[in-house]
Amino acid sequence: MRKAYSAMKYVCIAALVISMIALVAVVAYVLINGVDKLSLNLVFGEYTDNAPTVFPALVGTLQLVCIAAIIAVPIGVASAIFLVEYTNNKGKFVKIVQVATETLAGIPSIVYGLFGYLIFVVAFGWGYSMLGGGITLAIMILPTIVRSTQESLLSVQGGLREGAYALGTSKVRTIFKIVLPSAAGGIVTAIILAIGRVVSESAVLLLTINMVVNKVPETLMSPGTSLALDIYYFASHGYPDEAAATAVVLLIFVMILNLLAGFIGNLIRKSTYGDAK
């Protein structure tokens, strides 16, 4: 019996090695396979049928990130402020909001895509548009932002708030001058991670911005594409080299965002708390 369990130790370690190899293999393969196909022309050049580029996707991704962040960040942060600062994070209303955000977080992205299609493309009559795609993405990342902002706000010590009140500061002023700056590290980390999700997302966009890969969107109401969509398009339309190279661009983007999230969060934390932590 004892022997059987000792053997399990090695099974576990084998599993650890397998999962690390599997995950690292995905990244390593994409990087190694794509890096030599990468060129300046592919990233910034004009799109032609013989030499497709990802420049339209680069512009599109930037637009989507801006739209989604402009909508989701204020609403998400404000909603977390209400939950933590005005209701003490207790009570029926908080429960309901919690259930709503958790449910939103669990909805598959393709269902968000259907919703975006129904409301923006059909009901509003916008047709496929970057704006519609951006708003749909904003709703999709909202739960993450609410959740993490809530946690950051909760971790601000109560004494800071009470000190501000004792000095006669109003509630709103306390929130903006004391609580938010103290929680800024966590909130910024959450926002950058949410942007990472916007950059990675593709299924939603299939139904809302319609994968027009060869044109930079003229206005926010035009259809367009994103880096992630481009990979799918290239891979399924017989441009394997372009797909591999675009994957490198996307992967680098996402990795930088993920690393940045932790780094900037720490930087802000340090500048607010001095070198205490």
């Binding site: 004892r2 369990y5 130790k9 099974v11 576990c12 370690i13 084998a14 650890l16 999962s19 599997a22 995950l23 690292v24 995905v26 994409v30 204020p74 609403i75 998400g76 404000a78 909603s79 209400f82 005005y86 909001v97 709503a100 955000t101 958790e102 449910t103 939103l104 669990g106 598959p108 992205s109 393709i110 269902v111 968000y112 895509g113 259907l114 919703f115 299609y117 409301i119 709703i139 739960p143 990472g196 950059v199 990675s200 593709s202 299924a203 299939l206 994968m211 992630a228 990979i231 799918y232 891979a235 399924s236 394997p240 797909a243 591999a244 994957a247 996307l250 992967l251 996402v254 993920n258």
Partner: protein, 291 residues
Amino acid sequence: MRGVFLFSAIFSILALATITVFLFISGVPFIAKTGFAKFIFGSDWAPLADTPSYGIFPMIVASLYVTALSVVIGIGIGLLTALALYKFCPKRLVAPIRQMINLLAGIPSVIFGLFGMTVIVPFVRDYLSPTGVGYGIFSASIVLGIMILPTIVSVSLDSLNSVPNTYYEGALALGATKEQATFKIMLPAAKSGILAGVVLAIGRAIGETMAVIMVIGGSPEMPESLFQSVRTLTANIAMGALELNGDALSALIATGVVLFVFTLILNVSFGILKRDNADKKEKKGKRGTAK
């Protein structure tokens, strides 16, 4: 100012309500028109035929297959990985490995799809597939299994770490080996947290679109083999959306409704598991404080 904050908080509820209402209003009448049983259990999907038929049973079956298999792969390896990180791996390696797994959790699903399409599908076709087809449930499950690994490892490790260490020490004091204590005491104690992680992983697997459509093939056929081009619910929506409109589009929205209901069920069970967990912790806390 309070009003602004309140409105923002209500926004999530509004968004959820709008999504639900829009989906059901556009999808349910179509299901009613086709006939519930015919839609759910019909095995013919031919929206472009002269007499179109809309049966999504093959997609439901394929979705369930892919989800089950990928979760088995993901849990099998992920849980053991978490255990290795928990007790059986040099302490100074744990933090860097965890950080790396967190970083890898952010890889976009389309990249997993590309990897599956260019590496796993050809490999399966050349070496494993009895039918000579690389696309299908088998390849999709492997890709998804790798994709959900980081989630499972993080959640399992967190719930293992939240078990009081005194359990472990107690077991050792009674003469159990390190391994026995880990598998017989700590693992059962972390059970409900791990189960919540499993539900989360199921949700991700059943809802994943991009990684799946690149390796599943896409024929709306009843899955008879793991190595055969089929379609999941998500793939049905994504692939259909690119080529259809009109009545067939309502069929896609109806597919979305079915998927939405699936995820709602998962969400509710996740909520229940988490509440159970919280209840237990509360009790534990009380027992601990009543000295």
